[in-house]
């Protein structure tokens, strides 16, 4: 005689130290057998009060602090803050500095997408892409090290320009690097695109409809993989992006596979931009005259740029002294993590790992 088997939902903590959560993030899962019924993200493990620290620093001192805000693309953090401060004080940036900034930002975007490509594949069980991606990323890290001495937190883009000029061997070495990376991207595609295991794990998983993406303010590759053509480099132009020719790739389905393909496409576009920027790189100053005791006039500004993880924004309120009254940072991951409870339910834990990886969430950007 078999009685009825009693079943009940149970709760599993995924993280804070799970390798696939890319930092310290805890997802509390309510499970029904193998199925995830409910996800609740718990954040704050990396909260370093960067915004509070910035209020006690002068504008120049804020830049190395914001390096730590999103360390995979620290150039973008430098740049957003510098852009906001320049808007406040209405500083005209020399043309050569703008070209150097674009080159660095795009190199950093490629480096970040390579990390995405490697770690996502590793989370889904393929180790080789990670080794390949880090091998190519090394070319970019060498270029950064040659320019500013740092490999991760650069403190390179300053208010009014850049910290120092590139060395003479930078341009040929950069051309070589983008040539190599450009050749390797088809190799990556050959590794995964037609791989039956990869396709089974990613196609149709974690579908994000465009309406939901806009409602939750998803941005960057995640928004474009859902078919919304919105790229701040085009639609809210900053720096000198209007001088370059590049396409904005979009994908129709909004699943994990599309988010992966889209980022590889973006690497190709970044290579195009860097090629044009190296071609047109003018001679001249690399920094506008900005006093050490930089005091922008009282006012407030919100500046935003297209980062590899979506919209990166900085809000600054100035009262005319040399310290900001308020610095508020906004990273793409903050909004993408909010989406996990929406699209991460009714799937397996293994799918949740794929979704989380495809969002390319980085926790320091969320916790600040």
């Amino acid at each position: 005689m078999m009685g009825e088997i009693r079943t009940q939902e149970f709760i599993v903590n995924m993280g804070p130290h799970h390798p696939s959560t890319h930092g310290v993030c805890r997802l509390m899962l309510t499970m029904d057998g193998e199925k995830v019924m409910k996800v609740e993200p718990y954040i704050g493990y990396l909260h370093r009060a960067l915004e509070k620290i910035c209020e006690n620093r002068t504008y120049h001192q804020c830049i190395p602090i914001l390096d730590r805000f999103e360390y995979v693309t620290a150039m973008s953090c430098n740049y957003t803050f510098a852009l906001a401060a320049e808007k406040l004080a209405q500083i005209e940036v020399p043309e050569r500095a703008e070209y150097l900034r674009v080159i660095m930002l795009e190199l950093n975007r490629i480096a970040s997408h390579l990390i995405f490509f490697g770690t996502t594949a590793m989370d889904l069980g393929a180790l080789t892409p990670f080794l390949y991606a880090l091998r190519e990323r090394e070319y970019i890290m060498d270029l950064f090290e040659m320019t500013c001495g740092q490999r991760l937190t650069y403190n390179y883009i300053r208010i009014g320009g850049v910290a120092k000029d590139i060395p003479a061997e930078f341009v040929p070495q950069c051309r070589e690097a983008i040539k190599i990376i450009g050749k390797k991207v088809p190799e990556y595609e050959g590794l995964l695109n037609e791989n039956p295991i990869w396709k089974a794990r990613t196609i149709g998983v974690g579908v994000l409809p465009p309406e939901l993406a806009v409602a939750y303010a998803a941005s960057g590759p995640i928004l474009r993989a859902s078919g919304v053509k919105y790229d701040l480099r085009r639609d809210d132009p900053y720096s000198i992006y209007d001088k370059f020719e590049f396409d904005i790739p979009t994908r129709p389905n909004g699943d994990v596979f599309d988010r992966y393909i889209l980022r590889l496409e973006e690497i190709k576009q970044s290579i195009r931009i860097i090629g044009q920027a190296l071609e047109g790189l003018p001679e001249g100053d690399i920094k506008a005259k900005v006093p050490l005791k930089f005091k922008p006039p009282a006012g407030e500004v919100y500046s935003r740029i297209e980062n590899s993880r979506g919209e990166l924004g900085v809000y600054i309120l100035s009262d005319g002294t040399d310290k900001p009254v308020r610095v508020k940072t906004r990273g793409g991951s903050y909004n993408h993590l909010q989406l996990i409870p929406e699209i991460g339910t009714d799937c397996l834990i293994a799918d949740l790992v794929a979704i989380f990886a495809s969002f390319d969430v980085i926790m320091p950007e969320v916790d600040r």
């Binding site: 919105y230 407030e300 935003r304 309120l317």
Partner: protein, 157 residues
């Protein structure tokens, strides 16, 4: 639509509810009364010419006399950007949640509730998340917040 056209349109569409602040900057900054926040936000989102359907950021600011909540919104179909703020008293600050208009507001509002002590009405999930669960030392982003471990950076000459 250029910034000037946007300014003109807002002036004709919201003559009373949105006040243009003189800030001397290129992008306009508006002030909205706390009581009319939901009405204005809904109109900004649903207006055919504007369609502000994308919430970029909500930032709270403590100016020591008052609290300001700054909303940065954008329109994806029309490629527009707009900032406006709501001014609240420092004591007993309370504001309506804009979650039902822009779901992305959820965490931003939770954050300002936690770090600034702004009470958010009709919010579905006001729980601590950036600070430890057992935090009892007040709202650390307020300017008058102090703690023995908090060291102010010395002035440089």
């Amino acid at each position: 639509m250029t910034t000037e056209q946007l300014k003109d349109y807002i002036a004709s569409r919201f003559p009373v509810m949105m006040t243009l602040l003189e800030t001397g900057r290129r992008e306009p900054m508006y002030e909205v009364k706390a009581g009319q926040l939901l009405e204005v936000c809904r109109a900004l989102r649903d207006d055919e010419t504007l369609k502000f359907n994308y919430l970029c950021n909500i930032g709270a600011v403590d100016t020591q006399e008052r609290l300001e909540i700054v909303y940065s919104i954008a329109s994806v179909p029309n490629r527009l950007r707009l900032d406006f703020k709501v001014v609240l008293p420092r004591e007993g600050a309370s504001i309506e949640s804009v979650q039902e208009i822009w779901p992305a507001a959820n965490w931003y509002e939770r954050e300002m509730w936690e770090l600034y002590g702004v009470d958010v009405k009709a919010h579905d999930n006001l729980k601590r998340f950036l600070l430890p669960d057992d935090w009892d030392k007040g709202h650390p982003m307020r300017k008058d917040w102090d703690d023995p471990d908090f060291v102010r950076f010395p002035e440089i000459e």
